[in-house]
Amino acid sequence: MEREEAVKHMTDVMAKFVAFTGKRLPDDVRAKIEELAQQEEEPLAKAIYKTMERNQELAVKLNRPSCQDTGALQFFIKCGTEFPYMAELPELLRQAVVQATKDAPLRHNAVETFDEYNTGKNVAKNIPSLFWDIAPGRDDCEIYTYMAGGGCSLPGHAKVLMPGEGYEGVTKFVLDVMTSYGLNACPPLLVGVGIGTSVEVAALQSKKALMRRIGSHNPNPKAAKMERLLEDGINAIGLGPQGLRGKNSVLGVNIENSARHPSVIGVAVNVGCWSHRRGHIVFNKELNYTIDSHSEVDF
């Protein structure tokens, strides 16, 4: 493949994949929603889950984005240093978003700050957002796509705690976000918690936690224990679908952590709504790709 042709191919695949993720939820999210729906007994909660199910069927049938808020696009990239198209990625992903916006179609969600106008294309200053990890020696490129909607972005909180507040303080911080902002953010939620030193470290990890599969656990046994405690605890609060009460509240709780300065515990919470539009695609150096977030891909 000529270089120009290769870049066009990757742009095209990314545009189609982004549009596709707006229409069909990833396998883990679909399975979990089905599981939670079956546990409900109250008529209101059951009726809401039924409407959600019908909506997802209609989205596929009518080939439309399942939620009107197709978000500001974010890409979490793990790029091998030997991946041949690394230099082209920023422009290529931007073009893919423009294309998906037209084809899907996606809602226009990029507003330039200070000048305060909607660009109408879903690209603007640092939108789409690109978050890079470099994988030394690897020649492939892994990309998580995420539609950061307004509703699920609004509860985002970060704070630096004093060590005296401990993990008990972390617990309180997370629970407070759930009962203040969380209930309006389209539960059942996927809750991402980041722990580190300063706010930006914690915040980035809280979002990366949302890229992890539902049901996966942090490799540290204590962190994994805290994931389970928070999941059971937030479920016991019983936010239910749409915050209108029910048996559960969350799709899961994922914690990502890094070490901390001895004087601080930085903590952040990010949530994904029930319509958690996350995709995962891996390109090899020949630009053949595999998608493991969705089993039924048809584009």
């Binding site: 409407t51 909506n55 209609l58 399942s66 808020d69 809602r107 209930l183 204590k222 605890g233 019983g238």
Partner: protein, 203 residues
């Protein structure tokens, strides 16, 4: 149980027998109206270019496909977080005479007062179910304040049995989300104690 359908124009009497937790539907005219439109009416003192007296608004920013000049198709439309409009809503209800506000999540004290004093409802459409909502839209009748971009334009739609709409604030002074919050906060205290006793990792 018969399906409760409100039809615009809506009178104060139409809302008397409706209580929080009820499920209703809307037929008639529905206009999308959100952040900047509220700000323009209340802070800038501008007149809303659509008459919504005895009518309904939807806190939403849809995806629209333009088929030709002035000819639009509703692709998806679902509610956005209503709490963002709380700051303006009491004055907005008084100013516009709107009877039904549809959105997502709860609203606060001001809106509750506005609804009780001016006889209006707040309802929740299950958020994220934007294709279901779009299929209840028969036609887009007009588009105003298009300078605000696709999400914030006032799209006035002809809708048929738009719903399910879950009543979250009624005209009798009840607020479902605020009542739920009290329950959630009580449970949270208990949950916190349980978790806190098991996460003393700093020793």
């Amino acid at each position: 149980m018969a399906k409760k359908v409100l039809t615009t124009p809506i009178s104060a009497e139409d809302l008397e027998d409706i209580h929080v937790g009820d499920v209703i539907y809307l037929t008639g005219k529905l206009t999308t109206c959100r952040d900047v439109a509220h700000r323009r009416v209340i802070e800038e003192g501008r007149k809303l270019p659509v008459d919504i007296r005895d009518g309904a608004i939807l806190h939403a920013g849809p995806i629209i496909r333009q088929r030709g000049e002035g000819d639009y198709e509703m692709v998806t439309v679902g509610p956005t977080t209503s709490m963002r409009m709380e700051k303006f809503e009491e004055a907005f209800i008084k100013e516009t005479g709107v009877r039904l506000i549809i959105g997502k999540g709860g609203m606060g004290e001001g809106t509750m007062r506005g609804r009780r004093d001016n006889k209006a409802l707040h309802c929740v459409f299950p958020a994220g179910c934007a294709v279901v909502a779009a299929t209840c839209v028969e036609k887009i009748l007009s588009a105003n304040w298009k300078d605000l971009g696709m999400p914030e334009t006032l799209w006035t739609c002809q809708v048929k049995e738009f719903g399910p709409l879950i009543v979250s604030i009624d005209t009798h002074g009840r607020n479902l989300f605020e009542e739920n919050k009290v329950i959630f906060n009580e449970r949270k205290e208990k949950v916190f104690q349980e978790i806190a006793s098991q996460v003393g990792f700093i020793k």
